[in-house]
Amino acid sequence: MIIVRREDLALSVADAVLAVPGVAALHPGFGVEVATLFSGGKVVGVRLSGETVQIYLTAERVPLQPIADEAAKAAGRVLAAAGDPRPVEIVVADVTTDAVIRRTTARGTIGAHG
């Protein structure tokens, strides 16, 4: 088994997920903060404790399914490389206002021509 420090793993997972197109940011969740804590800091949006690895993110566009799919794959690759077999749980906690505006504009354009 490969030994990786928790913070390094959490940071690598966060970096991999943030590199996915359509992911605007990681999200702290609602209520109790979703984060991986370690001495000297924390990685918000990635929870490594538990039977599954939870990732909370903010999407910057819709549809959400391809973003969630890619984010799960990206995180899964990092975990597999670190020898962590746990499944990944993706939670789309928010969608940016930009995405809402873009979609609204597109809908309006379709409506105007249709």
Binding site: F30, V32, L64, E89, V100, T104
Partner: protein, 173 residues
């Protein structure tokens, strides 16, 4: 409720710390023959208290009520914080608040309604959506079409029940 439980755990921890400190202070003060803050005769005084006394009854009732409230609060069904969406057999999640906000927004834009409100719940097989807004009844189809389109983009399962309730704003005479 998880937040409430965390706060309750923190409060319990504080109470336990305070209790521990009290025991330490009491022990040290007893060792130097100056018992403080609890007098040494507390046991005798407590022994003189009858169960029928009003304060005993009041304390018992208060503890019972607090216990009952906590039990009911823990057992009460709560709204889901996130909704399951499926993807090639794998489940991912969408925040309920986000789904509701976007659904309401879709109703407002696509259906041209005022003051839209959406409630979304469900499981991986089916979502149930309730939309309420102020609009004339002929907007019904446009609202539903727009809402369904938005739900598809949010990753809702194929089976979605949408209940739309449109109410016309009362006219001022």
């Amino acid at each position: 409720m998880r937040t409430v439980n965390r706060i309750a755990s923190a409060l319990l921890a504080l109470v336990l710390i305070a209790g521990g400190l009290l025991v330490v202070v009491q022990t040290v003060s007893a060792l130097v023959d100056r018992p403080w803050p609890i007098p040494t005769n507390w046991r005798r005084e407590l022994g003189d208290v009858a169960l029928s006394e009003r304060r005993v009854l009041a304390i018992c009732i208060a503890i019972g009520v607090v216990g009952l409230v906590v039990l009911i609060a823990e057992l009460m069904p709560r709204r889901q914080a996130r909704l399951p969406a499926t993807m090639n057999g794998t489940t991912w999640w969408v925040s309920r608040r986000t789904a509701e906000r976007r659904t309401a927004h879709a109703a407002a834009v696509g259906g041209s309604v005022a003051h839209p409100r959406a409630d979304v719940s469900g499981n991986a097989q089916r979502w149930r959506v309730r939309v309420r807004a102020e609009a004339p009844p002929h907007r019904y189809e446009a609202v539903e079409r727009s809402v369904r389109e938005e739900l598809r983009a949010l990753g809702a399962p194929d089976e979605v029940t949408v209940a739309t309730s449109l109410k016309q704003r009362g006219r001022v005479a």
